[in-house]
C-alpha cells in the first residue's frame, strides 16, 4: 500500500530543519556558470567555511536539523554573462564573476563579519554604481519573473524545498478538489498559449484530448529545444524540474492520462540528469505512481533522451522518435489529440507551458489573465544573446517592447570587442531558423504572438539574437538556410531539395556569382518551399530569407549588383586596403603576393589592384605594420 503524501508535513519538517541556518550561499549551477568554474567556487566555499570554524551544510536532509551555513547550487539565474553568480541570503547580496580566489575574502568579510565586498557587486556600466542584489540590478528589476521565479532560488535537486515553496499543492488541488473538466476549463479560461512556437491555446489541446473515449492516453513534455540561440527550456529543466513534473501531473489529470514522457535533448546533459533525479524523487515520495493523493488515479513519467535531430521538436516527429523510429513528421489530421503516441490520444506541451500550469492552477485563471495582454496572457522567457551587453535568460510579460528588452534589460548593443556601441542594432533575429528579423523600426513593437506574426516574424521558442551594424544579413540568412537544409528530414521534396537550392543561390550571392535574376528565383523558391512542405520545419525554413529580403533588400542588391559587402564579412566581395598612414613601403607584401596584384616603389605607399587580387590574405599576414586590412 503506497503511502499517501502529506505535503504540509514535508513542508513543516523542511522548515524545522532549516530554522537554525544562519545564512544561505547559493551558487548558480546552470550550464553557463558551470562552464565558468562554478564547481571550483563551490569547493572553495566548503574549504574556507570549514577553515573559518563555521559549520557548512551541503546536503540538506529533512530528517536532520541543521546549523550554520547552507551551501547549495541553483538552476540558471539568467545573468550568464556575469557568472559564476553567488547569492547570499538573507543579506540579499549577489556577487558576480566570482573566482575561487575570491572565496576566502567572501567567507571572512561577508559570512563572518557581515560586510559587503563592493568589488564583487555588479556595477552599472554607464554610471559605475554598485548594485547590492537582484532588486537593484536593472537586468532583473525590469523583468517579471513568473515561470523562472524559483529558478535560482530553489535547489533543483531538493524536492522538499520545492514542496516547502508550495510545490505540488496545485497538483493536489487538481487531483482532489477539481474534476478533469474543471482543470481543463481553468486552463482554457486562462488563455495560456503554447510556448514552444505555435502559440496554440493549451486548454483547447487538452479539451480535444479529454473528450476522446476513455482508455490509454499520453502526455508528452517536449524538451527537444533545438533552435540555435534558445535555452529557456533547458534553464527551466535545470533550475526547477519539479515544476515541469507538476505541470505534467495536472495535464494528466485533465486529459485522463496515466503515462507521460519527457523528451529531452541529449545536448543538455545537466537537464537530463536533474529531470531524471526529480522524477525519481517524486516517485520515492509517492507523488508519482499509484493512487496519487489517495485519488485512485495513477501517473508515471518516463524520461527519454533525444539523439540529435532538430525536426523531432515537431510533435508528430517526436512521437515517431519515442516509438523508436526515424523522427519524421506525419500529416495532420489525425491530430495527436485523436491518434498520437502508439495511436492513442496524446497531448504534447512545451516545457515552459507545462511549468506555467501549476502557477495558473495555484493563482487562478483570472489573476493570470491580468499579466501580459488580451490575446497573449502571461509572461514569456527569452534567451537574449548576441551583440548585447547583458546576455542571458530573461522573462517579461507579453507585450513588452523590443526596445525595452534590448536597451534596458539587455543593457544596449555591443561591438565585436564587447564595448558598448552607440550605433544601435541592425537587426534582432527572433524565433530562430523559423522566425524572422526585426529592425530598429520595430523598437516600439509589443512582443506577442499576433503582433509578431503580422510583421513576418514569430515568437518561436524565444531566442532573441541581437546583431550589431557589423553583421552581414545575407550571411545570416545563409547561416539559417544551412541549418534548416542540414536538419530537413528529407520527407518532402520541396523542403529537401528546395532548401538545398536556396542555399546554393545564397552562396552565389555571397561569392559574387549572382545576377538580379538570382534574387527573383530565390524569392519564388522560398514561397514554393513554404507551400510544399508538410511540417513546421519546411513551412518556416524560408522565413529568415524572406524577412531579410523584406528589410534589407538594399544589402542584397549591394551584394548582387555592386559585388560589395559593406560589412566586409563576405570574403569574395571585399578587397584588401592599404592604410597609407601605416605603410612604410617595405615591399614585403609585393614579394608575397602570389598573383602580382600589389605594386609600388620602395619607401612609397603601395597599391593593390583589386581586379587581380584573389583575396588570399597573404599580404595581410606578411605586413608587419598591420597596414593591410579587409580580407
Amino acid at each position: 500500500m503506497p503511502q499517501v503524501i502529506e505535503l504540509n508535513t514535508i513542508a513543516e519538517k523542511y522548515k524545522k530543519s532549516v530554522e537554525d541556518i544562519e545564512r544561505r550561499v547559493i551558487i548558480c549551477a546552470g550550464t553557463g556558470c558551470m562552464a565558468n568554474g562554478a564547481q571550483k567556487v563551490h569547493d572553495a566555499f566548503v574549504k574556507y567555511i570549514t577553515g573559518s570554524g563555521l559549520n557548512v551544510v551541503t546536503e540538506l536532509r529533512t530528517e536532520d536539523e541543521h546549523k550554520g551555513i547552507h551551501l547549495s547550487g541553483s538552476g540558471c539565474q539568467g545573468f550568464c554573462q556575469m557568472g559564476p553568480l553567488v547569492t547570499i541570503e538573507p543579506d540579499g547580496l549577489l556577487y558576480v564573476k566570482v573566482k575561487p580566489e575570491d572565496v576566502s575574502e567572501i567567507v571572512k568579510r561577508t559570512l563572518v563579519e557581515s560586510q559587503v565586498i563592493n568589488r564583487l557587486l555588479y556595477s552599472i556600466p554607464s554610471t559605475g554604481e554598485h548594485c547590492k542584489g537582484t532588486n537593484e540590478i536593472p537586468f532583473y528589476t525590469r523583468q517579471s519573473r513568473f515561470v523562472l521565479k524559483n529558478c535560482g532560488l530553489v535547489d533543483p535537486e531538493n524536492i522538499d524545498e520545492y514542496i516547502f515553496l508550495d510545490g505540488y499543492a496545485a497538483a493536489q488541488k487538481a487531483y482532489l478538489n477539481m474534476s478533469a473538466k474543471e482543470v481543463t476549463d481553468e486552463i482554457l479560461k486562462s488563455g495560456l498559449r503554447g510556448r514552444g512556437g505555435g502559440g496554440f491555446p493549451t486548454g483547447r489541446k487538452w479539451e480535444l484530448t479529454r473528450i476522446q473515449p476513455e482508455g490509454k492516453k499520453y502526455i508528452i513534455c517536449n524538451g527537444d529545444e533545438g533552435d540555435p540561440g534558445a535555452f529557456m527550456d533547458r534553464s527551466v529543466m535545470e533550475g526547477n524540474p519539479h515544476s515541469v513534473i507538476e505541470g505534467m501531473m495536472i495535464a494528466a489529470r485533465a486529459i485522463g492520462a496515466d503515462e507521460g514522457y519527457i523528451y529531452v535533448r541529449a545536448e543538455y546533459p545537466l537537464a537530463v540528469k536533474r529531470i531524471k533525479k526529480a522524477v525519481k524523487d517524486a516517485e520515492f515520495s509517492g507523488l508519482l505512481g499509484e493512487n496519487l493523493f489517495n485519488s485512485g488515479l495513477s501517473f508515471r513519467i518516463n524520461v527519454m533522451e533525444g539523439a540529435g535531430a532538430f525536426v523531432c521538436g515537431e510533435e508528430t516527429a517526436l512521437m515517431s522518435s519515442i516509438e523508436g523510429k526515424r523522427g519524421m513528421p506525419a500529416p495532420k489530421p489525425p491530430f495527436p489529440a485523436q491518434s498520437g503516441l502508439w495511436g492513442r490520444p496524446t497531448v504534447i506541451n512545451n516545457v515552459e507551458t507545462l511549468a506555467s500550469v501549476p502557477l495558473i492552477i495555484g493563482m487562478g485563471a483570472d489573476a493570470f489573465r491580468k499579466i501580459g495582454n488580451e490575446k497573449s496572457p502571461g509572461t514569456k522567457t527569452f534567451a537574449l544573446t548576441g551583440h548585447v551587453a547583458n546576455t542571458g535568460l530573461i522573462e517579461v510579460p507579453f507585450g513588452t517592447t523590443l526596445g525595452e528588452i534590448v536597451n534596458n534589460i539587455g543593457g544596449g548593443v555591443t561591438n565585436e570587442d564587447g564595448s558598448l556601441s552607440h550605433e544601435g542594432f541592425k537587426a534582432v533575429q527572433i524565433g530562430g531558423p523559423s522566425g524572422g528579423c526585426l529592425t530598429e523600426e520595430h523598437l516600439d513593437l509589443p512582443l506577442d504572438f499576433d503582433s509578431l506574426t503580422k510583421v513576418g516574424a514569430m515568437v518561436g521558442s524565444g531566442g532573441l539574437v541581437v546583431m550589431n551594424k557589423q553583421t552581414c544579413m545575407v550571411k545570416i540568412s545563409r547561416y539559417f538556410m544551412q541549418f534548416t537544409q542540414n536538419e530537413s528530414c528529407g520527407k518532402c521534396v520541396l523542403c529537401r531539395e528546395g532548401t538545398k537550392q536556396m542555399l546554393a543561390l545564397l552562396d552565389d550571392i555571397i561569392e559574387g556569382r549572382a545576377t538580379t535574376q538570382t534574387l527573383v528565383l530565390l524569392e519564388d523558391l522560398a514561397h514554393a518551399v513554404k507551400k510544399g512542405s508538410l511540417c513546421g520545419l519546411g513551412k518556416s525554413a524560408p522565413n529568415p530569407v524572406l524577412s531579410t529580403l523584406k528589410y534589407f533588400r538594399q544589402e542584397y542588391n549591394e551584394h548582387v549588383i555592386n559585388k560589395w559587402c559593406s560589412t566586409k564579412s563576405c570574403k569574395h566581395l571585399t578587397a584588401p586596403e592599404i592604410d597609407p598612414l601605416k605603410c612604410k613601403g617595405c615591399t614585403v607584401c609585393i614579394k608575397k603576393c602570389p598573383v602580382g596584384a600589389i605594386t609600388g616603389e620602395r619607401k612609397m605607399v603601395h597599391k593593390i589592384n583589386v581586379a587581380v587580387c584573389i583575396r588570399c590574405g597573404a599580404c595581410v599576414q606578411a605586413c608587419k605594420l598591420n597596414a593591410i586590412s579587409g580580407v
Binding site: 553557463g32 557568472g83 534558445a230 536538419e487 528530414c489
Partner: protein, 172 residues
C-alpha cells in the same frame, strides 16, 4: 580467420550488447536508447553490432541502419579520444565560432572532410546549439564546456591536451 583471443574479445563485446538489450527487454520501440547505450560503450556503432541488434530485436537491419543514420548523435565511424564540438548556434555564429573551427583545423591538420586526426586523438565537429548562448562562442571537449573562447584560449586548450597526451606516452 580470427585468432582465439579475437574471438573471445568479440563475444565479450557482444556480451555487453546483450546486457543492454536485456535491460530494455528486447523491445524494438526502445531502439534509440539501446543504440545510445551501445554507442556509449564503443564510442561509435560498428556495423556488425547493428546487424546483431537487428537480429536480436527481430527487425530488418535496414530499420536499425535507418535510425542510426537519421540522428546526428549516432556515429558509424570511430571517433577520436577527445571529441571537440564547436557550437555553431546563432549566438556563437555571430560571435565568430567559425573562426574557432578554422583555428582548430589548422592546428590539428584537419579539414571539412577529415574530421579525425590519424592518431585517433581528436575529432572536430560542429553542433547546432549547446544552449550555452550566454557564453558564446562555446566549445566543448568531451563533456567539458569552455565559454567565451578566443583564438588564444582555443589554442591553449588544445596545446594542453596534446601536452597531456605526450606526458602519457612518455610515462608509458
Amino acid at each position: 580467420m580470427l585468432t582465439e583471443s579475437q574471438t573471445i574479445s568479440r563475444s565479450r563485446q557482444f556480451g555487453k550488447v546483450c546486457g543492454i538489450l536485456e535491460k530494455y527487454a528486447y523491445d524494438s520501440s526502445k531502439l534509440i536508447p539501446i543504440l545510445q547505450l551501445v554507442q556509449e560503450e564503443y564510442r561509435y556503432l560498428p556495423e556488425e553490432v547493428l546487424v546483431f541488434i537487428a537480429t536480436s530485436l527481430n527487425i530488418p537491419p535496414a530499420r536499425v541502419y535507418g535510425v542510426a543514420t537519421f540522428y546526428s548523435h549516432f556515429a558509424l565511424e570511430a571517433k577520436g579520444k577527445y571529441v571537440i564540438r564547436v557550437c555553431d548556434g546563432t549566438a556563437c555564429h555571430v560571435k565568430g565560432s567559425m573562426n574557432l573551427v578554422g583555428i582548430i583545423q589548422e592546428k590539428l591538420g584537419l579539414d571539412d572532410s577529415r574530421k579525425t586526426t590519424p592518431d585517433m586523438l581528436f575529432t572536430l565537429e560542429t553542433v547546432s546549439c549547446l544552449g550555452a548562448c550566454g557564453l558564446a562562442p562555446v566549445m566543448v571537449v568531451n563533456e567539458e564546456v569552455h565559454g567565451q573562447m578566443t583564438k588564444e584560449k582555443t589554442t591553449a586548450v588544445i596545446d594542453e591536451l596534446i601536452a597531456m597526451e605526450k606526458g602519457y606516452a612518455a610515462g608509458n
